[in-house]
Point group: none
Chain length 414, copies 2
């Protein structure tokens, strides 16, 4: 079965606000074996809302409306859904009484506009809202001769989540065919998207029953795999088989096969080896340290480091010889090595990382263009250096560079 | 005129990813006087995509498709839009050549699947993509006897933004009726949302023609003001009047009244005074340095600093006496002061910032709970310290702490 989620509210059509409820509902629906195939965001307009409702009812089995159930004139979801279904509404006396009790309990007088929250679409089951005034509604019936489930949920996230979990999940489970869903996620570092796809497409295409979603960021590709079956073992085996074949093909480009981030994997590896790390960053300006310390408990392996933006500090904190900077330039293979070795010695760590490059948008030259970054990893085995020309803007180049450096640590420890 | 934005990609229908491009486009469209009245999110299905295109073309003047222009088999936007418009496509030889040059310049071999990115819908203007392989397309013409503008944009945010700004804004301006929109944005630091709203609501409610949106984050409130009119002077005067009254009420809590970030304002102030800064961070782990160096040109005032996670490094890089750490603990007013003064002296800067605290989730005690952070700012006038107990998770506490530290620099230089 499939679903459409409709988020209602003119504020969701401004540059400032965004629907996030749908991510939560999608996860819950997926677990029930229901795919979300459309999401629509519509303002507080009865005509637009009715049109969106018609459209959704014509193309999906389950339609979930979020928001527009409050007491104001802008709250039009009940009216619009009733219109689209060709159904009437009645004011539920018990709901009116319960609203009045709710206000009285807080020593507040209820303004009359609140009454409209007690309007119920003919045939709907009222879903009490433990955290707010507007109840939800559940409608199950035929629309143009096909069985549909229609849900009206309140917009505030804590109301919606509680109401959906407590009153909708089991009702839906009773209506949808029993299905088991297995998912896996692979993370791949420092590989181009089209190269990666070219290598894995022949493999995942042989698994037509497994949905493969490829997401590419700066220096990272995520492969989300999902399949469903009426047997849990079969579903799990299919994604596990595919994961195994993908890992065989991609080899040590694979960072993790359970959704763990690169920082997290580096964290595990460092702790397994009782190893420590320190960083000396120039163009990444603290981002590498920030990513390492983003992980709770990172003080066990991350001792610290230096952000050495000026040449003087490259010398003061990581003992880079001034003559070397003068001769090769601050952005050079030699300085990257000296940063890594210097900070490792200063901090007494297993590993030292040095990064120097041109993050842009200014400061690039013909010889050393924006995007050129040298990454060095020093250890007792010596120091390795990777030179890269990263594309993109300042933010992306800085992210790429930290990704490259973390990946060097991962590969070293693997 | 009105618009619909269609975000394309099955990953946007998973619990993991969300369209954010539409926020950027909405801001730009609003500035042109164009309202966004629907947003639709659709997966990589040619049938669904074609249906969404039909629907959007039937209800809005401008339809913007984002994503699905890449080289993989999942990239179906060109085909679906051509289907919906009843138009054909041709493979543009010049685009193929330019793709080949792009790959050759990076010493990469182009896989044949990339060719489809050179497919152009009949009558479309090709919009070159400076940051990626897939160009955009602009189509302007009749659909069911009404004038429509159709835009195909790449999905990656940095590609989409640059392409839209450089190649679409002026083209759109020439097509939409002139309507003047005035906007202002106030940024307010380190003030609670409900306190702020209680103080300003009586003011902005007197300006019913100005739309006021309040957004609250960790240590920052944004007030977005917008009004439209057929006279630019009138629109501008209304928002400017309101800004003036809000600034009067909020005083020096106001960081900026033109959308500039706190980092940007600190950057201006430091450059105006020819001042420099260095940081010694413990619990923020590099985030403060990262925020300072996020600004291009920050090397003019940010010399660098140290991430001193371990106690030894607090001594090694910022000369904090070991006896002081032993006596007062690493998270203490005294150590914050010593970090700020030590790093200032080491780096020879106008200002030194020291941060030490408990970011959590572990490491808190009854005396020093999670969220306790000391921030110190050292200068030739002496050192000031601010102690705070921040709410929230690790990420939020770290952000709050950097916000507080940056705000201390701002207030010092104001």
């Amino acid at each position: 079965m499939n679903a459409e989620i409709i988020a209602i509210g003119s504020e969701l059509l401004t540059p400032f606000r965004q629907d996030t409820n749908s991510l939560y509902l999608t996860e819950k629906l997926n677990q029930l074996g229901v795919d979300v195939i459309f999401k629509t965001i519509v303002g507080d307009s009865r005509a637009h809302l009715t049109a969106a409702a018609h459209q959704a009812l014509s193309r999906t089995d389950i339609v979930i409306f979020m928001g527009g159930l409050g007491p104001t004139e802008d709250d039009l979801t009940r009216e619009a859904v009733a219109d689209a279904l060709g159904l009437g509404m009645h004011r539920d006396a018990e709901l009116v009484a319960s609203l009045e009790r709710r206000f009285a309990a807080r020593n507040m007088k209820m303004s009359p506009n609140n009454h409209k929250q007690a309007d119920v679409i003919t045939g709907a089951v009222v879903l009490p809202n433990a955290n707010g005034t507007a109840p939800g509604q559940w409608i199950s019936g035929k629309y143009e001769d096909r069985e549909k489930i229609i849900l009206l949920l309140p917009g505030p996230p804590h109301e919606l989540k509680a109401l959906f979990d407590q009153q909708c999940v089991e009702r839906l489970r009773a209506k949808v065919p029993p299905l088991f869903i297995a998912t896996r996620e692979l993370k791949i570092a420092m590989m181009g998207e089209s190269l990666c796809d070219a290598r894995i497409a022949p493999i995942y295409k042989r698994y037509a029953d497994v949905q493969t979603t490829i997401l590419a960021g700066a220096g990272e590709i995520q492969l989300h795999l999902k399949t469903r079956s009426d047997s849990l073992e079969h579903a799990q085996q299919r994604v596990d088989d595919l994961v195994e074949k993908l890992e065989e093909e991609l080899g040590d480009f694979v960072v993790s096969d359970n959704g763990d981030s690169l920082e997290q994997i580096v964290s595990y590896y460092l702790q397994m080896r009782n190893a420590t790390v320190a960083v000396a960053e120039s163009c990444t300006g603290g981002l590498l340290a920030e990513r390492l310390t983003h992980i709770s408990g990172s003080s066990r392996y991350f001792l610290g480091g230096a952000v050495v933006y000026s040449n003087q500090l490259k010398t003061a904190f990581a003992d880079v010889p001034p003559a070397m900077i003068k001769r090769h330039g601050a952005v050079s293979r030699e300085v990257a090595v000296a940063l890594a070795e210097g900070i490792r010695k200063r901090c007494g760590t297993t590993f030292g990382i040095g990064i120097t490059g041109v993050a842009g948008p200014t400061g690039g030259t013909a010889e050393k263009p924006v995007g050129l970054v040298f990454h060095a990893l020093a250890s007792e085995d010596g120091t390795e250096v990777v030179e890269k020309n990263f594309p993109g803007d300042r933010k992306r180049i800085r992210w790429f560079a930290t990704q490259q450096a973390l990946d060097m640590v991962r590969r070293k420890l693997k």
